[in-house]
């Protein structure tokens, strides 16, 4: 054991604050809860990924050779439900957000530590319901649970799945509530709103969406379960109800949910890019306003999911206009990330590769969103693979890329050890290449008219589908690699210094991994955010480490 090694192992940290199972399962430490969440969502990610793998294998040929129609329906439903509610929505907030927000604002904890732990248990309970659903034979409605199919016709386990999603919703509400109060009330002295890292802003905006939108979904799911059990309900047309009303309620939650997934990803990119370009983020204030604008306008665009469902034409026009409007703050962010790179001293380290991948894929996903926001084009593209490709560019290309980038960026802080950089770069590149190979052909398939959610297709679509399945294989390698080397790094990696990237931000002022109470000194030194390249990089940034800290 080298001296470095023993120094790391001897230093008190949140990881060394008790080794029993109980010390983890009953912890109130936001950092440990973040890790509990990380392991849970990783499990669900690979479960949802397994469903996607079977889907891609089935779609290698036009005929039905691996699964039948019903199984296929259950597979894409399981994939959607698991990935949306059990991976993407908790991904960045519940792991990175939980770990980092108190550190970034100079607090010892989140405002309500017990509620934070409860959030993870509620998540787990919801997850158990979804696992039972799968064991009991799955559910075949699609993740959207559209009525009247879900309430009156489907023969699958709709109620179980709906209960699972209802429960997991409260875990995100608890996390969101905690973040809002934490950011409002627990900032360190000197940490003003306009000194907050954009990651905190992004998670704050996300939390606002979560607490306002999720309860609407919860009640809607209650109404679905009620209607399914009693066969009487407000969505059933034979009783004077209206299935379109369900769609309005569902998308009132589920469109903002897209921003719940992507805003934290934007926050991650806003931390990584300035650090590896050695430049302060371009237009910090504009970035904060853009975050809030996205959160607000994101609430007003849900009707663009319903252009062909029979809603009023005038409503469609307004929703179309508002959907174009939400592209403006999103574009502001893309331009500002790009401008941050300008004249920067760019290092293509693995977190940066993920972050740049995020910007590129998010841009493609965002621009194709404009096609879908245009009412006339949308009529042609509704329920085709174009839509599938579009939202995967946002959710996978955007959120998953940023989540992985963030994991790499903060991994030394989280586990106190470095990961192998070469493997990390290989993984980043193979995810980027594999992702584009998987989903770009789906844009073409969609514009050629291939509908989504069928297990068979016309023979002329085979070549592009095979590209897509091949790409999924490449992407899968890119996802398994980090699982292996990040776990390896957690156990055997080189000890990490407090600030391996010379990054700005309070979380780098404390040791890696941080002590249980986050900072050895009670008040960390708060400065301007993204203080890169203003002083001489090496010495200036060195002053941020605890050893060299100015008192």
């Amino acid at each position: 054991m080298s001296t470095d090694e023993s120094k790391v192992l001897d230093r008190p940290s949140y990881l060394r604050d008790g080794y029993t199972l109980r010390s983890w399962l009953l912890t109130r430490d936001h950092k440990r809860i973040a890790l509990l969440y990380m392991f849970s969502i990783t499990g669900f990610f690979f479960l949802g990924g397994a469903a996607a793998t079977i889907i891609r294998i089935e779609l290698m040929t036009p005929g039905a050779d691996l699964v039948d129609a019903r199984t296929y329906n259950e597979l894409f439903t399981a994939h959607g439900v698991i990935m949306v509610w059990f991976f993407l929505i908790p991904s960045i907030p519940a792991t990175l957000g939980n770990f980092l927000i108190p550190l970034m604002i100079g607090a010892q904890e989140v405002a309500f530590p017990r509620l934070n732990l409860a959030s993870w248990y509620v998540y787990t309970l919801g997850g158990i319901f979804v696992l039972i659903t799968l064991i009991a034979g799955g559910v075949d409605t699609g993740w959207t649970f559209y009525t009247p199919f879900s309430t009156l016709f489907s023969n699958s386990n709709v109620v179980l799945a709906v209960v699972g999603v209802f429960i997991v919703g409260f875990s995100s509400i608890f996390t969101g509530l905690n973040f809002i109060v934490t950011v409002h009330r627990l900032r360190a002295p000197g940490m003003t709103w306009f000194r907050l890292p954009l990651f905190v802003w992004a998670n704050y905006a996300t939390s606002l969406i979560v607490v306002l939108a999720t309860p609407v979904l919860a009640m809607t799911l209650v109404l679905i379960a009620f209607e399914r059990i009693t066969h009487v309900g407000i969505f059933d047309p034979s009783l004077g109800g209206d299935p379109i009303f369900f769609q309005h309620l569902f998308w009132f939650y589920s469109h903002p949910a897209v921003y719940i997934m992507v805003l934290p990803a934007m926050g991650v990119a806003s931390e990584i890019i300035p650090c590896f370009a050695r430049r302060p983020v371009f237009g910090y204030r504009a970035m904060t306003y853009a975050i809030m604008a996205i959160a607000v306008i994101g609430f007003l665009v849900w009707g663009h999911h319903m252009f062909v469902s029979g809603q009023s034409m005038y409503a469609s026009i307004v929703f179309s206009l508002l959907s174009f409007l939400v592209a403006i703050p999103s574009a502001v962010k893309v331009f500002n990330w790009t401008a941050t790179l300008y004249k920067g001293s760019i290092a293509l380290s693995s977190p940066m590769l993920y972050a740049l991948g995020f910007v590129g894929l998010f841009t493609i996903g965002g621009l194709t969103g404009l096609f879908l926001a245009a009412t006339a084009v949308d009529v042609h593209l509704t329920d085709t693979y174009f839509v599938v490709a579009h939202f995967h560019y946002i959710m996978v290309g955007g959120t998953v890329m940023a989540y992985l980038g963030g994991l790499h960026f903060w991994w030394p802080k989280i586990v106190g050890r470095m990961y192998p950089e070469t493997w990390a770069r290989i993984a980043a590149v193979s995810i980027f290449v594999g992702f584009n190979l998987t989903f770009f052909p789906q844009y073409i398939l969609g514009s050629l008219g291939m509908p989504r959610r069928y297990h068979t297709y016309a023979p002329q679509y085979q070549l592009l589908n095979d590209f897509s399945s091949l790409g999924a294989g490449v992407m899968a390698i890119g996802y398994v690699l980090p699982l292996a080397y990040l776990l390896y790094a957690m156990l055997r990696g080189q000890p990490a210094p407090p600030n391996p990237w010379n990054a700005a931000g309070l979380e780098w002022q404390t040791s890696s991994p941080p002590p249980q109470q986050n900072f050895d000194r009670t008040t960390p030194a708060v400065g301007e955010p993204y203080d890169y390249g203003r002083s001489t990089p090496a010495q200036g940034q060195g002053a941020r480490t605890p050893e060299g800290a100015q008192s």
Binding site: I180, V211, L212, T214, P215, M219, L239, G240, H248
Partner: protein, 226 residues
Amino acid sequence: MSAAPLAHFDSAQRQYESATLGMWVFLATELMFFVPLFLAYARGRVEFGDAFAAARRHTDAAIGTVNTAILLTSSLCVAIAVRSAMLAAELSQTQGRHSAEIDRHLRAASRFLWLTVLLGVLFLALKAVEYRSEWAEHLVPWLDFRFAADHRTGAGYFYLAYFAMTGVHAVHMIVGVSLVATLAVRLGRGDADRANAVAMTGLYWHCIDAIWVFLYPLLYLVGRHA
């Protein structure tokens, strides 16, 4: 305010502010939880105006009115209890632990909390009586619903909305009554540390009360004599 703040708050004041903000955010989620029901009601009323009016004439306005009075009174009791609990907490911070004055405030708080519990239970009991008579009159949509043929669809929709709204409200009442009862016991034992919890539970109780204030006219009054 509680006597000693938790470690991660730098003062009791900061902890109280955090709890209050957290509770208000939670109440926002509660209101959003009811939004689909209010929307369902609104679209039903637009769609089936006459049937809604006909159906509304079968709800028991007398019980509804009495229940409204009960809830408003209960909110007053909670407000008094919060005030007493806060006074007790402030005194126990400034002076010694067991002064007679503190005990007097705590006893008053506990007594008013028990009164709240009593009123809450009375509300729920009256609601149960109401549900029972609606069941007897075949007004429960999923249990042999009967209504004049020309308004049957709209009236069925009205009673769905009625049972959903009052049912979800009643579930919140049950949670509220249990919370208030627990606190009443704690304060009755002379625990001066629970002022924060009393204040937060008070906010919750007022919120449930305020939701009823909107349910009452929608379900019992609007268009009754049209």
